[in-house]
Symmetry: C2
Subunit: 244 residues, 2 copies
Protein backbone atom coordinates (compact mmCIF):
# COMPACT_ATOMS: atom_id res chain seq x y z
CA UNK A 1 0.00 0.00 0.00
CA UNK A 2 1.34 3.46 -0.90
CA UNK A 3 2.58 5.51 2.04
CA UNK A 4 2.82 9.27 2.42
CA UNK A 5 4.15 11.51 5.12
CA UNK A 6 1.76 14.27 5.88
CA UNK A 7 3.82 17.34 5.09
CA UNK A 8 1.32 19.27 3.00
CA UNK A 9 -1.60 17.22 4.23
CA UNK A 10 -4.58 18.70 5.96
CA UNK A 11 -6.33 16.43 8.41
CA UNK A 12 -9.69 17.73 9.54
CA UNK A 13 -12.67 15.77 10.74
CA UNK A 14 -12.71 12.54 8.81
CA UNK A 15 -11.00 13.97 5.75
CA UNK A 16 -7.38 14.24 4.57
CA UNK A 17 -6.39 16.57 1.75
CA UNK A 18 -3.00 15.92 0.13
CA UNK A 19 -1.39 18.79 -1.77
CA UNK A 20 1.92 19.53 -3.50
CA UNK A 21 4.48 16.88 -4.43
CA UNK A 22 2.53 14.09 -2.74
CA UNK A 23 -0.63 15.00 -4.68
CA UNK A 24 1.39 14.59 -7.88
CA UNK A 25 2.57 11.24 -6.57
CA UNK A 26 -1.05 10.15 -6.08
CA UNK A 27 -1.62 10.91 -9.78
CA UNK A 28 1.55 9.11 -10.86
CA UNK A 29 0.37 6.04 -8.95
CA UNK A 30 -2.94 6.25 -10.89
CA UNK A 31 -4.87 5.62 -7.69
CA UNK A 32 -8.62 5.40 -8.19
CA UNK A 33 -11.41 6.42 -5.83
CA UNK A 34 -11.94 3.67 -3.29
CA UNK A 35 -8.26 2.67 -3.19
CA UNK A 36 -6.41 2.84 0.14
CA UNK A 37 -3.18 4.53 1.18
CA UNK A 38 -1.49 5.17 4.50
CA UNK A 39 -0.73 8.72 5.57
CA UNK A 40 1.81 8.86 8.38
CA UNK A 41 2.01 11.86 10.72
CA UNK A 42 5.77 11.14 10.94
CA UNK A 43 5.36 10.82 14.69
CA UNK A 44 4.44 7.18 14.84
CA UNK A 45 0.74 7.34 13.92
CA UNK A 46 -0.68 5.92 10.68
CA UNK A 47 -3.88 7.21 9.11
CA UNK A 48 -5.39 4.60 6.82
CA UNK A 49 -7.19 6.59 4.15
CA UNK A 50 -9.41 5.87 1.15
CA UNK A 51 -9.25 8.05 -1.96
CA UNK A 52 -12.43 10.06 -2.56
CA UNK A 53 -11.26 12.06 -5.57
CA UNK A 54 -8.27 13.71 -7.15
CA UNK A 55 -8.62 17.35 -8.18
CA UNK A 56 -6.30 19.70 -10.06
CA UNK A 57 -3.67 20.18 -7.33
CA UNK A 58 -4.90 18.00 -4.54
CA UNK A 59 -6.34 14.64 -3.57
CA UNK A 60 -9.09 14.07 -1.05
CA UNK A 61 -9.17 11.02 1.18
CA UNK A 62 -11.58 9.69 3.76
CA UNK A 63 -9.83 8.67 6.99
CA UNK A 64 -10.80 5.06 7.65
CA UNK A 65 -8.67 4.12 10.66
CA UNK A 66 -6.03 5.66 12.94
CA UNK A 67 -3.40 3.23 14.31
CA UNK A 68 0.10 3.30 15.77
CA UNK A 69 2.60 2.54 12.98
CA UNK A 70 3.47 -1.16 13.45
CA UNK A 71 6.95 -0.69 11.98
CA UNK A 72 8.25 1.57 14.74
CA UNK A 73 10.56 -0.27 17.14
CA UNK A 74 10.16 -0.03 20.92
CA UNK A 75 13.71 1.31 21.24
CA UNK A 76 15.01 4.65 19.95
CA UNK A 77 18.46 4.07 18.54
CA UNK A 78 20.69 6.99 17.61
CA UNK A 79 23.34 5.95 15.11
CA UNK A 80 26.40 8.21 15.20
CA UNK A 81 29.13 7.71 12.59
CA UNK A 82 32.49 9.19 11.82
CA UNK A 83 31.90 10.75 8.39
CA UNK A 84 32.94 8.27 5.70
CA UNK A 85 34.08 8.98 2.17
CA UNK A 86 31.84 9.33 -0.87
CA UNK A 87 28.47 7.70 -1.13
CA UNK A 88 28.94 5.55 1.96
CA UNK A 89 27.12 8.26 3.91
CA UNK A 90 24.02 7.74 1.79
CA UNK A 91 24.32 4.03 2.15
CA UNK A 92 24.47 4.28 5.96
CA UNK A 93 21.42 6.54 6.02
CA UNK A 94 19.34 4.32 3.75
CA UNK A 95 20.18 1.04 5.47
CA UNK A 96 19.90 2.36 9.03
CA UNK A 97 16.48 3.87 8.29
CA UNK A 98 15.34 0.50 6.94
CA UNK A 99 16.80 -1.31 9.94
CA UNK A 100 14.93 0.92 12.38
CA UNK A 101 17.22 3.80 13.47
CA UNK A 102 15.54 6.68 15.28
CA UNK A 103 18.08 9.23 14.05
CA UNK A 104 21.45 9.25 12.33
CA UNK A 105 24.30 11.72 12.87
CA UNK A 106 27.73 12.18 11.42
CA UNK A 107 30.79 13.85 12.87
CA UNK A 108 34.37 14.64 11.96
CA UNK A 109 36.35 11.94 13.71
CA UNK A 110 40.08 12.37 14.14
CA UNK A 111 40.94 9.93 11.36
CA UNK A 112 38.21 10.89 8.90
CA UNK A 113 39.53 10.83 5.36
CA UNK A 114 36.56 12.93 4.24
CA UNK A 115 37.02 16.54 5.28
CA UNK A 116 34.25 18.49 3.62
CA UNK A 117 34.18 22.26 4.03
CA UNK A 118 30.54 22.50 4.99
CA UNK A 119 28.97 19.13 5.75
CA UNK A 120 25.89 20.89 7.14
CA UNK A 121 25.12 21.90 3.55
CA UNK A 122 24.64 18.26 2.72
CA UNK A 123 21.99 17.79 5.38
CA UNK A 124 19.11 18.60 3.06
CA UNK A 125 20.17 15.91 0.62
CA UNK A 126 20.82 13.40 3.42
CA UNK A 127 17.40 14.14 4.89
CA UNK A 128 15.74 13.43 1.55
CA UNK A 129 17.44 10.01 1.45
CA UNK A 130 16.13 9.30 4.94
CA UNK A 131 12.62 10.30 3.89
CA UNK A 132 12.68 8.08 0.81
CA UNK A 133 13.94 5.13 2.84
CA UNK A 134 11.34 5.76 5.54
CA UNK A 135 8.53 5.70 2.97
CA UNK A 136 9.85 2.60 1.27
CA UNK A 137 10.31 0.63 4.47
CA UNK A 138 7.00 1.68 6.01
CA UNK A 139 8.44 3.67 8.92
CA UNK A 140 6.16 5.80 11.07
CA UNK A 141 8.73 8.56 11.49
CA UNK A 142 11.26 10.23 9.22
CA UNK A 143 14.55 9.68 11.04
CA UNK A 144 16.42 12.97 11.42
CA UNK A 145 19.87 13.16 9.89
CA UNK A 146 22.20 15.46 11.77
CA UNK A 147 25.73 16.81 11.92
CA UNK A 148 27.48 16.95 15.28
CA UNK A 149 29.95 19.81 15.62
CA UNK A 150 32.64 18.00 17.57
CA UNK A 151 33.45 14.91 19.58
CA UNK A 152 32.19 16.48 22.80
CA UNK A 153 28.78 16.81 21.16
CA UNK A 154 28.97 13.14 20.15
CA UNK A 155 29.66 12.00 23.70
CA UNK A 156 27.09 14.38 25.13
CA UNK A 157 24.41 13.00 22.84
CA UNK A 158 25.37 9.41 23.63
CA UNK A 159 25.46 9.57 27.43
CA UNK A 160 21.86 10.76 27.56
CA UNK A 161 20.68 7.34 26.38
CA UNK A 162 19.89 4.21 28.42
CA UNK A 163 22.77 2.50 26.63
CA UNK A 164 25.73 4.25 24.99
CA UNK A 165 28.12 2.11 22.98
CA UNK A 166 31.25 2.85 20.99
CA UNK A 167 32.13 0.05 18.57
CA UNK A 168 35.86 -0.55 18.46
CA UNK A 169 37.80 -3.17 16.55
CA UNK A 170 40.74 -3.77 18.85
CA UNK A 171 41.98 -3.62 22.42
CA UNK A 172 40.01 -4.06 25.61
CA UNK A 173 36.32 -4.42 24.82
CA UNK A 174 33.12 -6.09 25.92
CA UNK A 175 31.07 -8.23 23.54
CA UNK A 176 28.14 -6.23 22.19
CA UNK A 177 25.97 -9.29 22.75
CA UNK A 178 26.97 -9.54 26.41
CA UNK A 179 26.18 -5.88 26.96
CA UNK A 180 22.83 -6.17 25.17
CA UNK A 181 21.86 -9.42 26.86
CA UNK A 182 22.25 -7.83 30.28
CA UNK A 183 20.04 -4.84 29.37
CA UNK A 184 17.85 -6.55 26.81
CA UNK A 185 14.21 -5.70 26.41
CA UNK A 186 14.34 -2.88 28.97
CA UNK A 187 16.49 -0.58 26.84
CA UNK A 188 14.32 2.27 25.57
CA UNK A 189 17.08 4.37 24.01
CA UNK A 190 20.57 3.66 22.77
CA UNK A 191 23.43 5.38 20.98
CA UNK A 192 25.79 3.47 18.70
CA UNK A 193 28.99 5.24 17.72
CA UNK A 194 31.05 3.86 14.84
CA UNK A 195 34.31 5.09 13.35
CA UNK A 196 35.39 6.27 9.90
CA UNK A 197 37.54 4.27 7.44
CA UNK A 198 40.67 4.75 9.54
CA UNK A 199 38.97 3.73 12.79
CA UNK A 200 39.01 5.67 16.03
CA UNK A 201 42.06 7.38 17.45
CA UNK A 202 43.03 6.00 20.85
CA UNK A 203 42.17 9.23 22.62
CA UNK A 204 38.65 9.08 21.23
CA UNK A 205 38.16 5.64 22.72
CA UNK A 206 39.70 6.74 26.01
CA UNK A 207 37.44 9.78 26.25
CA UNK A 208 34.40 7.63 25.51
CA UNK A 209 35.40 5.22 28.24
CA UNK A 210 35.85 8.05 30.73
CA UNK A 211 32.44 9.42 29.74
CA UNK A 212 30.94 6.09 30.72
CA UNK A 213 30.33 4.58 27.28
CA UNK A 214 30.61 0.84 26.79
CA UNK A 215 33.44 -0.01 24.40
CA UNK A 216 32.18 -2.98 22.42
CA UNK A 217 33.27 -5.62 19.96
CA UNK A 218 31.13 -7.34 17.32
CA UNK A 219 33.46 -10.29 16.82
CA UNK A 220 36.82 -10.55 15.11
CA UNK A 221 35.58 -9.80 11.62
CA UNK A 222 36.65 -6.33 10.52
CA UNK A 223 33.54 -4.55 9.29
CA UNK A 224 33.74 -1.70 6.81
CA UNK A 225 32.76 1.67 8.23
CA UNK A 226 29.49 1.58 6.30
CA UNK A 227 28.66 -1.98 7.42
CA UNK A 228 29.28 -1.64 11.15
CA UNK A 229 26.34 0.72 11.89
CA UNK A 230 23.80 -1.60 10.24
CA UNK A 231 25.16 -4.67 12.00
CA UNK A 232 25.24 -2.95 15.40
CA UNK A 233 21.75 -1.54 14.91
CA UNK A 234 20.41 -4.97 13.94
CA UNK A 235 21.95 -6.45 17.09
CA UNK A 236 20.11 -3.87 19.21
CA UNK A 237 16.85 -4.56 17.37
CA UNK A 238 17.30 -8.27 17.95
CA UNK A 239 18.13 -7.88 21.63
CA UNK A 240 15.15 -5.60 22.29
CA UNK A 241 12.63 -7.88 20.61
CA UNK A 242 12.18 -5.73 17.52
CA UNK A 243 13.09 -8.35 14.96
CA UNK A 244 9.99 -10.52 15.07
CA UNK B 1 48.27 -6.82 9.42
CA UNK B 2 48.16 -7.80 5.73
CA UNK B 3 46.34 -11.03 4.98
CA UNK B 4 46.78 -13.44 2.09
CA UNK B 5 44.98 -16.56 1.05
CA UNK B 6 47.42 -19.27 0.16
CA UNK B 7 46.53 -19.94 -3.44
CA UNK B 8 49.99 -19.92 -4.96
CA UNK B 9 51.69 -20.39 -1.61
CA UNK B 10 53.99 -23.24 -0.82
CA UNK B 11 54.10 -24.28 2.80
CA UNK B 12 56.92 -26.63 3.64
CA UNK B 13 58.69 -27.09 6.94
CA UNK B 14 58.77 -23.72 8.63
CA UNK B 15 58.75 -21.76 5.38
CA UNK B 16 56.05 -20.22 3.19
CA UNK B 17 56.79 -19.10 -0.36
CA UNK B 18 54.28 -16.73 -1.95
CA UNK B 19 54.22 -16.53 -5.75
CA UNK B 20 52.11 -14.87 -8.43
CA UNK B 21 49.66 -12.04 -7.82
CA UNK B 22 50.12 -12.19 -4.05
CA UNK B 23 53.89 -11.87 -4.40
CA UNK B 24 53.30 -8.69 -6.37
CA UNK B 25 51.01 -7.55 -3.59
CA UNK B 26 53.81 -8.09 -1.06
CA UNK B 27 55.95 -5.74 -3.16
CA UNK B 28 53.18 -3.15 -3.48
CA UNK B 29 52.82 -3.14 0.29
CA UNK B 30 56.58 -2.45 0.54
CA UNK B 31 56.89 -5.03 3.29
CA UNK B 32 60.39 -5.33 4.73
CA UNK B 33 62.16 -8.37 6.11
CA UNK B 34 61.02 -8.91 9.70
CA UNK B 35 57.48 -7.64 9.08
CA UNK B 36 54.55 -9.95 9.77
CA UNK B 37 51.62 -11.04 7.63
CA UNK B 38 48.91 -13.67 8.02
CA UNK B 39 48.56 -16.37 5.41
CA UNK B 40 45.21 -18.15 5.59
CA UNK B 41 44.73 -21.64 4.24
CA UNK B 42 41.14 -20.58 3.43
CA UNK B 43 39.93 -23.45 5.58
CA UNK B 44 39.93 -21.69 8.89
CA UNK B 45 43.62 -21.86 9.79
CA UNK B 46 45.88 -18.79 9.98
CA UNK B 47 49.64 -18.99 9.49
CA UNK B 48 51.34 -16.02 11.10
CA UNK B 49 54.43 -15.42 8.97
CA UNK B 50 57.45 -13.12 9.04
CA UNK B 51 59.02 -11.89 5.79
CA UNK B 52 62.51 -13.27 5.19
CA UNK B 53 63.11 -11.80 1.73
CA UNK B 54 61.43 -10.84 -1.51
CA UNK B 55 62.95 -12.20 -4.73
CA UNK B 56 62.12 -11.58 -8.37
CA UNK B 57 58.78 -13.42 -8.54
CA UNK B 58 58.30 -14.65 -5.01
CA UNK B 59 58.48 -13.80 -1.35
CA UNK B 60 59.81 -16.05 1.38
CA UNK B 61 58.32 -16.07 4.87
CA UNK B 62 59.17 -17.85 8.09
CA UNK B 63 56.10 -19.43 9.71
CA UNK B 64 55.92 -18.09 13.26
CA UNK B 65 52.64 -19.48 14.56
CA UNK B 66 49.70 -21.58 13.36
CA UNK B 67 46.30 -20.71 14.87
CA UNK B 68 42.59 -21.15 14.11
CA UNK B 69 41.32 -17.97 12.45
CA UNK B 70 39.56 -16.04 15.24
CA UNK B 71 37.14 -14.39 12.80
CA UNK B 72 35.37 -17.58 11.78
CA UNK B 73 31.95 -17.93 13.43
CA UNK B 74 30.86 -21.14 15.15
CA UNK B 75 27.86 -21.41 12.82
CA UNK B 76 27.94 -22.02 9.06
CA UNK B 77 25.29 -19.82 7.49
CA UNK B 78 24.32 -20.27 3.84
CA UNK B 79 22.73 -17.12 2.46
CA UNK B 80 20.45 -17.83 -0.52
CA UNK B 81 18.96 -14.88 -2.41
CA UNK B 82 16.59 -14.38 -5.28
CA UNK B 83 18.83 -12.70 -7.87
CA UNK B 84 18.42 -8.92 -7.55
CA UNK B 85 18.99 -6.28 -10.21
CA UNK B 86 22.25 -4.56 -11.00
CA UNK B 87 25.02 -4.17 -8.49
CA UNK B 88 22.91 -5.28 -5.54
CA UNK B 89 24.33 -8.76 -6.06
CA UNK B 90 27.82 -7.46 -5.39
CA UNK B 91 26.61 -5.55 -2.40
CA UNK B 92 25.00 -8.67 -0.90
CA UNK B 93 28.19 -10.67 -1.44
CA UNK B 94 30.46 -8.05 0.10
CA UNK B 95 28.31 -7.36 3.15
CA UNK B 96 27.44 -10.99 3.85
CA UNK B 97 31.09 -12.01 3.69
CA UNK B 98 31.93 -9.26 6.19
CA UNK B 99 29.04 -10.28 8.42
CA UNK B 100 30.22 -13.90 8.52
CA UNK B 101 28.35 -15.92 5.85
CA UNK B 102 29.75 -19.36 5.06
CA UNK B 103 28.53 -19.29 1.47
CA UNK B 104 26.22 -17.21 -0.70
CA UNK B 105 24.01 -18.43 -3.52
CA UNK B 106 21.62 -16.81 -5.94
CA UNK B 107 18.69 -18.25 -7.80
CA UNK B 108 16.03 -17.22 -10.29
CA UNK B 109 12.97 -16.61 -8.15
CA UNK B 110 9.59 -16.40 -9.79
CA UNK B 111 9.41 -12.62 -9.47
CA UNK B 112 13.04 -11.82 -10.27
CA UNK B 113 13.26 -8.69 -12.39
CA UNK B 114 16.79 -9.63 -13.36
CA UNK B 115 16.77 -12.42 -15.94
CA UNK B 116 20.33 -12.84 -17.16
CA UNK B 117 21.03 -15.32 -19.91
CA UNK B 118 23.92 -17.01 -18.21
CA UNK B 119 24.31 -16.04 -14.56
CA UNK B 120 26.85 -18.79 -14.08
CA UNK B 121 29.20 -16.71 -16.23
CA UNK B 122 29.16 -14.06 -13.53
CA UNK B 123 30.35 -16.47 -10.89
CA UNK B 124 34.02 -15.72 -11.45
CA UNK B 125 33.48 -12.01 -10.87
CA UNK B 126 31.25 -12.67 -7.84
CA UNK B 127 33.85 -14.99 -6.38
CA UNK B 128 36.52 -12.29 -6.70
CA UNK B 129 34.30 -9.90 -4.73
CA UNK B 130 33.92 -12.55 -2.03
CA UNK B 131 37.69 -13.05 -1.90
CA UNK B 132 38.38 -9.33 -1.59
CA UNK B 133 35.80 -8.97 1.19
CA UNK B 134 37.19 -12.05 2.97
CA UNK B 135 40.70 -10.58 2.93
CA UNK B 136 39.55 -7.18 4.08
CA UNK B 137 37.43 -8.48 6.94
CA UNK B 138 39.98 -11.02 8.13
CA UNK B 139 37.98 -14.13 7.32
CA UNK B 140 39.61 -17.54 7.54
CA UNK B 141 37.74 -18.91 4.54
CA UNK B 142 36.76 -17.52 1.15
CA UNK B 143 32.97 -17.94 1.13
CA UNK B 144 31.86 -19.71 -2.04
CA UNK B 145 29.45 -17.86 -4.28
CA UNK B 146 27.12 -20.16 -6.17
CA UNK B 147 24.23 -20.27 -8.58
CA UNK B 148 21.35 -22.64 -7.84
CA UNK B 149 19.63 -24.01 -10.92
CA UNK B 150 16.07 -23.93 -9.67
CA UNK B 151 13.88 -23.59 -6.62
CA UNK B 152 14.05 -27.31 -5.87
CA UNK B 153 17.82 -26.92 -5.53
CA UNK B 154 17.25 -23.99 -3.17
CA UNK B 155 14.98 -26.01 -0.89
CA UNK B 156 17.21 -29.05 -1.08
CA UNK B 157 20.22 -27.03 0.02
CA UNK B 158 18.27 -25.39 2.84
CA UNK B 159 16.71 -28.46 4.44
CA UNK B 160 20.12 -30.04 4.99
CA UNK B 161 20.90 -27.39 7.64
CA UNK B 162 20.11 -27.39 11.36
CA UNK B 163 17.89 -24.39 10.74
CA UNK B 164 16.29 -23.45 7.42
CA UNK B 165 14.49 -20.11 7.23
CA UNK B 166 12.67 -18.29 4.47
CA UNK B 167 12.24 -14.59 5.21
CA UNK B 168 8.84 -13.35 4.14
CA UNK B 169 7.30 -9.93 4.55
CA UNK B 170 3.62 -10.77 4.91
CA UNK B 171 1.09 -13.42 5.96
CA UNK B 172 1.52 -16.12 8.57
CA UNK B 173 5.03 -16.07 9.96
CA UNK B 174 7.08 -16.67 13.08
CA UNK B 175 9.39 -14.02 14.49
CA UNK B 176 12.98 -14.71 13.46
CA UNK B 177 14.04 -13.87 17.00
CA UNK B 178 11.62 -16.42 18.49
CA UNK B 179 12.90 -19.12 16.17
CA UNK B 180 16.53 -18.26 16.91
CA UNK B 181 16.02 -17.96 20.66
CA UNK B 182 14.65 -21.46 20.81
CA UNK B 183 17.62 -22.94 18.92
CA UNK B 184 20.23 -20.42 19.98
CA UNK B 185 23.81 -21.39 20.55
CA UNK B 186 23.29 -24.99 19.45
CA UNK B 187 22.73 -24.16 15.79
CA UNK B 188 25.80 -25.23 13.81
CA UNK B 189 24.42 -24.61 10.33
CA UNK B 190 21.64 -22.47 8.94
CA UNK B 191 20.18 -21.42 5.59
CA UNK B 192 18.58 -18.01 5.11
CA UNK B 193 16.49 -17.55 1.97
CA UNK B 194 15.51 -14.04 0.91
CA UNK B 195 13.46 -12.86 -2.05
CA UNK B 196 14.14 -10.57 -5.01
CA UNK B 197 12.77 -7.01 -5.43
CA UNK B 198 9.26 -8.28 -6.10
CA UNK B 199 9.22 -10.62 -3.11
CA UNK B 200 8.33 -14.29 -3.16
CA UNK B 201 5.40 -15.73 -5.07
CA UNK B 202 2.89 -17.43 -2.80
CA UNK B 203 3.66 -20.87 -4.21
CA UNK B 204 7.32 -20.43 -3.32
CA UNK B 205 6.41 -19.76 0.29
CA UNK B 206 3.97 -22.65 0.32
CA UNK B 207 6.55 -25.07 -1.05
CA UNK B 208 9.09 -23.90 1.51
CA UNK B 209 6.58 -24.49 4.28
CA UNK B 210 5.80 -27.98 3.01
CA UNK B 211 9.53 -28.72 2.83
CA UNK B 212 9.76 -27.90 6.53
CA UNK B 213 11.35 -24.46 6.38
CA UNK B 214 10.47 -21.87 9.00
CA UNK B 215 8.72 -18.87 7.42
CA UNK B 216 10.00 -15.89 9.38
CA UNK B 217 9.42 -12.20 9.89
CA UNK B 218 12.01 -9.61 10.89
CA UNK B 219 9.50 -7.02 12.05
CA UNK B 220 7.13 -4.79 10.13
CA UNK B 221 9.81 -2.72 8.43
CA UNK B 222 10.04 -3.59 4.74
CA UNK B 223 13.69 -4.31 4.00
CA UNK B 224 15.13 -3.93 0.52
CA UNK B 225 16.15 -7.17 -1.09
CA UNK B 226 19.82 -6.30 -0.61
CA UNK B 227 19.35 -5.34 3.06
CA UNK B 228 17.37 -8.35 4.26
CA UNK B 229 20.21 -10.93 3.91
CA UNK B 230 22.63 -8.86 6.00
CA UNK B 231 20.04 -8.19 8.71
CA UNK B 232 18.99 -11.85 8.88
CA UNK B 233 22.60 -13.02 8.93
CA UNK B 234 23.43 -10.59 11.73
CA UNK B 235 20.48 -11.90 13.74
CA UNK B 236 21.84 -15.45 13.42
CA UNK B 237 25.33 -14.29 14.40
CA UNK B 238 23.89 -12.54 17.44
CA UNK B 239 21.77 -15.50 18.51
CA UNK B 240 24.64 -17.95 18.21
CA UNK B 241 27.07 -15.87 20.22
CA UNK B 242 29.17 -14.77 17.27
CA UNK B 243 28.83 -11.03 17.79
CA UNK B 244 31.07 -10.56 20.79
Amino acid sequence: MARFFMAGTNLAGGTAIIRGRDAEHVKVLRLRPGEDVVISDAQGTDYKCRLVETRKDEAEFEIVEVVPCPAEPSVEVSVICGLPKGDKTEYIIQKCVEAGAHDISFFQANRCVARPDAPEKKLERWQRIAEEAAKQSGRGIIPQVGWLEDYAAVLDKAIKKDLAVLLYETGEREGLDTVLNSGGHDIKSAALITGPEGGFAEFEVKLARIAGLRICSMGERILRCETAPVVALTAVMYATGNLS
